[in-house]
């Protein structure tokens, strides 16, 4: 006979293993964001400590009026959209190509995706990109100096290179989760391969493509690594992006309040984006059951 009290104790015992991880995560991820929220309401420049005061939403106004921050927001949108669009398209193409049977497919698949884990930003791509760009710019052999004339393109190209395999992997996983017997049945019924692709494969892939777009957007909008090493946001603020601008506000201007306000704006933007991601991930998990 189990009484209610017994069951309560049992429930508590079952919850116990969760607590260390949960408490640790709450402390280390939620407190920094609360602090950011708090700081965003203060005027605080570390170079002028005497001028620290509560400023309501002054920082948000400053950020909204800041030319460089506006440029950063525009660049972030352009860059993220461009990189997500092209890498998803290329990823889809590669996934479809690699899902077919041909000689050396396994080897090719390895060659393509292996580089996404290749310390992607700093290592190979960066060295390579810098090398290419300097070659094309410095020695006046080729007319366009990419870094100063097309800085966003100069950043976008290696980013697309880096993110395409990510998109490919997710879409490929989607392709391979298609039940083969249904495709066979369609083929037996006389559907052409184009028909099968249009009315069966694409609808099935839809949620995987959505997932790769949403996750890609969340990751890409946050990454400032290529900007950091290839253009440093320049020339002027032509290629600066939101995270890099926050970084500059923090460690070059020492305007802690403004940086925090910009951080809060980024958090709000990401919450909107991730609510999409959330629904997608839950949907996928439900369908797997």
């Amino acid at each position: 006979m189990t009484t209610i009290a017994d069951r309560k104790i049992a429930n508590r015992r079952r919850r116990l293993p969760l607590y260390p991880a949960l408490i640790f995560t709450i402390i280390l991820t939620q407190i920094p964001f609360l602090v950011t929220l708090g700081i965003s309401l203060f005027h605080w420049n570390i170079m002028y400590p005497d001028d620290t005061r509560f400023a309501w939403f002054e920082n948000f106004q400053t950020v909204a009026a800041d030319e460089a921050m506006r440029a950063a927001i525009k660049n972030s949108v352009v860059l993220t959209t461009g990189v997500v669009f092209f890498s998803t398209l290329l990823g889809l193409l590669l996934a479809l190509l690699l899902d077919r049977k041909f000689r050396g497919r396994a080897l090719l698949r390895v060659l393509v995706w292996k580089h996404i884990i290749f310390n992607p930003m700093y290592g190979i791509v960066n060295g390579f990109a810098t090398q290419i760009y300097q070659k094309f710019g410095g020695d006046s052999v080729v007319v366009i100096d990419f870094i100063s004339q097309r800085p966003l393109v100069a950043i976008a190209v290696p980013m697309i290179w880096q993110w395409t395999p990510f998109m490919m992997l997710i879409i490929l996983a989607g392709l391979q989760s298609q039940p083969p017997d249904i495709l066979e049945a369609a083929a037996v019924d006389g559907a052409s391969s184009r028909q099968i692709f249009r009315s069966m494969t694409l609808p099935h892939l839809r949620q995987y493509i959505q997932l790769s777009i949403v996750l890609g957007t969340i990751y890409i909008i946050q990454s400032m690594d290529f900007v950091f090493t290839i253009t440093q946001g320049g020339p002027g603020s032509d290629s600066t992006i939101i995270p890099y601008q926050i970084y500059l506000t923090l460690f070059r201007k020492y305007e802690f309040g403004e940086a925090a306000a910009a951080g809060v704006i980024v958090i709000i933007l990401t919450i909107i984006l991730s609510s999409f991601a959330f629904r997608l991930i839950r949907n996928l998990l439900e369908t797997e059951k």
Binding site: L18, V110, S193, S212, Y247, G263
Partner: protein, 282 residues
């Protein structure tokens, strides 16, 4: 006989179009692989041959770049990266495995909400947390301390680990746990005597993915470490900006820094998609 043919619906397409599609796939694939190949090639060259224009395909082979990598002190940076990656991965496993257990085999009430909470922390932009982290570490005089960095790496990847481990533990029949409970085993015993041994593959995959993500982390590393606790990616960036013109040397450093991740990635290849998609795709 007929079933054999039905199994291959794609044979309908003509041989020529299949051949051209395969060629196209190879072309695209090699295009993506080329930068990696080129870096590898350059890393075995002398500086004079590395930076020429137009680039040379064939040049004398040398290992001196790799010798230099270790002479100029990459060792301490690699060691820092190793401490942060391996250290945080061990702590993550110790925290995430029990949590994943509570959320999977006999899930507690509201386990879905807890899982959603873990996932949501992965979506918060690290740049917005940078200032508080910096201030806290400065206050505690823990800037440029590799162990402080490790603690934050635990927080970064713990949610992911909980999700991944949970997806492995879910497959284990609950009767196994119930039988152990009937025998009077404590939760700790169930975890470490019963569940850990049978979920070793899942634990291995999770730790490799955490290792890869930590090894590559850059934003936090460059802002809260100085010379003492700098990790390998930070060291690499220093190389790009200060000595960007030494391509051969830079290439060799890139290869050395990437090597642990490549090996880990090789071992975890089946589970990498799962990790990258936050557990949504298996």
């Amino acid at each position: 006989m007929s079933t054999l043919k039905v199994n291959k619906p794609r044979q309908k397409t003509s041989l020529a179009s299949r051949f051209s599609l395969s060629t196209f796939a190879w072309f695209l694939g090699l295009l993506f692989f080329f930068p990696v190949f080129w870096t590898l090639l350059i890393s075995f060259r002398q500086e004079v041959d590395a930076g020429t224009f137009p680039p040379k395909w064939i040049a004398p082979f040398t290992l001196e770049n790799y010798e230099k990598v270790f002479k100029v002190g990459a060792k301490s940076f690699l060691l820092n990266s190793a401490i942060a990656s391996i250290g945080s991965t061990i702590v993550i496993l110790a925290l995430a495995f029990p949590a994943a257990y509570a959320l999977s085999i006999k899930p507690i009430k509201k386990s879905k909400d807890v899982l959603s909470f873990f996932l949501s922390t992965k979506f918060l932009p690290p740049i917005a947390a940078l200032l508080p982290i910096y201030l806290i570490l400065k206050e505690l005089q823990l800037l440029d301390n590799i162990f402080a960095l490790t603690v934050f790496y635990v927080a970064m990847n713990l949610p992911l680990a909980v999700w991944l481990l949970r997806s492995f533990l879910k497959e284990i029949p609950r009767e196994l746990v119930e039988a152990a409970e009937l025998d009077g085993a404590s939760t700790i015993k169930i975890l470490y005597r019963v569940l850990v041994p049978i979920s070793m593959p899942g634990i291995a995959a999770t730790s490799l993915i955490c290792f890869i993500f930590t090894w590559n982390e850059f934003l936090l590393a460059i802002n809260v470490t100085g010379f003492g606790a700098a990790t390998a990616p930070v060291y690499l960036v220093g190389f790009v900006t200060a000595e960007g013109l030494f391509f051969a040397q830079l290439s060799a450093v890139s290869i050395v820094v990437s090597l642990p991740v490549i090996i880990a990635g090789w071992a975890a290849q089946d589970k990498l998609v799962s990790g990258l998609s936050l557990g949504a795709v298996k």
